[in-house]
């Protein structure tokens, strides 16, 4: 591991000033991803600015009936929070489906959004990787890509974003707040992650040196009837091979509001807008659910070894929406 400087920030302005313009400096939150990547040499920061003690650890109701979640709220505190459990159950289920109790106690909401892909080539500094070393190539396309992207990838990178939390936040139109030395700003989560294209090393639209300060969830009554389902290769403590956050409102047998987002299928949490469009105003039944899934997955470009994800995601859409429909009719 490269030697590094360490400073602890006590306020937001101080934190962004400490990081300054040094491209080799990093903010340290829970460290569950960054410290691991430093050990393997993927990340080689010159300095760490510890932001875990910043006063950003609150979850508050907003005037419009939404929630504002501070960036240093831990995954555990987010999932235990009464209002989150009432208003956005899929978000709680997504957080609880991720990592382990130990890691959820350490990990923060801001850090979760900035965690890096678990693509094995990205994590192995002896291998080429366009995300880690631009222009070096992508061995996953011809190699081990069983758990790689089927949507929105490019011939430069097929890695997936590993977050569960981010999938639910995407479904509920979360907005990211950040601070730089120039002032504060906001980014809707749907614009937060950049398209892969030929620049897979550029992952977010955050300005250089920006610190995520919080996530705002707008009011979403439909979210009270939502769920998250994660498919993985063992029952617990594993990354998804496919996941879904879904919310459904039905009036007189017709879909009046629906939210769908997919995880582990793209370089970012994938909002399934084509499926939502196909469903809104349609009859709420298995046939519509399957047609909506097909509308979204028509754009899928599976590789040789990950075609199963197309079937998996189609089945997840139908199964989870059917469960929500049944729940609503009880």
């Amino acid at each position: 591991m490269r030697e590094f400087g360490y400073q602890r920030a006590s306020d937001v302005a101080g934190a962004v000033a400490l990081l300054g313009a040094d491209p080799d400096a990093r903010f340290l939150g829970g460290g569950t991803n960054l410290v691991d990547l430093m050990k393997t040499g993927v990340e080689r920061p010159s300095r760490l600015v510890d932001v875990r003690e910043l006063p950003l650890d609150r979850i508050e109701s907003t005037q419009d009936g939404g929630l504002r979640i501070g960036a240093t709220v831990t995954n555990s505190d987010l999932a235990a929070h009464a209002e989150v459990r009432r208003r956005y159950p899929a978000l709680v289920q997504a957080v609880l489906a991720g990592a382990s109790g130990q890691l959820r106690n350490m990990a923060t909401v801001g850090g979760n959004l900035l965690q890096r892909t678990r693509c094995g080539y990205f994590g192995d500094v002896t291998k080429p990787c366009n995300k880690r070393v631009p222009g070096s190539g992508c061995p996953a396309i011809e190699g081990d890509h069983r758990n790689h992207a089927i949507l929105g990838a490019s011939r430069h990178c097929v890695a997936v974003h590993p977050s569960d939390m981010g999938v639910a936040l995407t479904a509920f139109d979360a907005v990211i707040s950040y601070e730089t030395t120039e002032g504060s700003g906001e980014l809707p989560l749907c614009d937060f992650y950049l398209p892969v294209g030929d620049t897979p090393h550029l992952e977010t639209a955050l300005p250089p040196g920006a610190l995520i300060t919080g996530v705002t969830l707008p009011s979403a009554p439909v979210a009270a009837r939502s769920r998250y389902r994660k498919v993985r290769e063992r029952a617990s403590y594993a990354f998804a091979i496919g996941s879904i956050a879904a919310a459904l409102d039905v009036r007189d047998g017709v879909v009046s509001d629906v939210r769908l987002a997919f995880g582990a299928v793209a370089s970012r949490p994938w909002r399934a807008r084509a499926a939502e469009r196909a469903l809104t105003g349609a009859r709420a039944d298995g046939e519509s659910f399957a047609a909506a899934a097909d509308a979204e997955l028509a754009a899928a470009e599976p590789l040789i070894h990950n075609g199963y994800k197309v079937t998996l995601m189609r089945n997840l859409v139908v199964a989870v929406l059917s469960e929500l429909l049944e729940e609503a009719s009880r």
Binding site: E3, R8, L103, S236
Partner: protein, 187 residues
């Protein structure tokens, strides 16, 4: 000018203060084992995947291998050496002994620290990924074997002593709740 790459820090561990100079690269795990002779905390994978190095930070379980020592300054660290009250074992330790919650014992300190926290998290009403009704009004779910397995899934045991571990956690939870049952019924 390059920033300093080491710091003098004071760690609060099991109620005692330890002052030492650490290279910033030092994890809490290495500081405990290599610098402070607190070798009860074990190094397994050293990448946050096995739970052998589980300790409590401000009362909450965390993996010491991904926690930088310098960043732990100011927090209360509890290791396996600090779980008992003097000569009196913690109910989780006693249950692991009574029910054989281990084979080789290497993962045991992490299992026990994790279980201590699991019982507190459950009592505080935290849901888990297998909790059916997560609404706060539903209250804590029964601490079934399924709940214990999910909540303890961050602690691997390569001997596969999970059956006894689940029983031990159930019994300790029952003891702490002041209940009469032994816990075997749920495992």
């Amino acid at each position: 000018m390059a920033p300093p790459t080491s710091s003098a820090i004071t760690l609060n561990i099991n109620g005692e203060k330890y002052t030492l100079s650490v290279d910033h690269r030092t994890t809490l795990l290495d500081a405990l084992r290599e610098r402070l002779d607190l070798t009860g905390t074990k190094k397994g994978c050293d990448q946050g995947q096995c739970g052998a190095c589980t300790v409590l930070l401000d009362g909450r379980r965390a993996v010491a291998c991904l926690q930088l020592a310098v960043s732990a300054e100011g927090r209360e660290v509890t290791t396996i050496e600090g779980v008992a009250e003097g000569e009196r074992l913690h109910p989780v330790q006693q249950a692991f002994l009574d029910l054989d919650g281990y084979q080789c014992g290497y993962c045991t300190p992490g299992q026990i620290c994790s279980a201590v926290a699991v019982i507190e998290e459950h009592a505080a009403g935290w849901p888990s990924a297998v909790t059916g009704d997560i609404r706060p009004e539903a209250g804590p779910p029964p601490l079934t074997a399924e709940e214990i397995r999910e909540r303890m899934s961050g602690n691997l045991c390569r001997c596969g002593a999970y059956v006894s571990i689940v029983q031990a956690v159930a019994r300790a939870a029952a003891v702490e709740a002041g209940a009469e049952e032994t816990g075997e019924a749920v495992a």
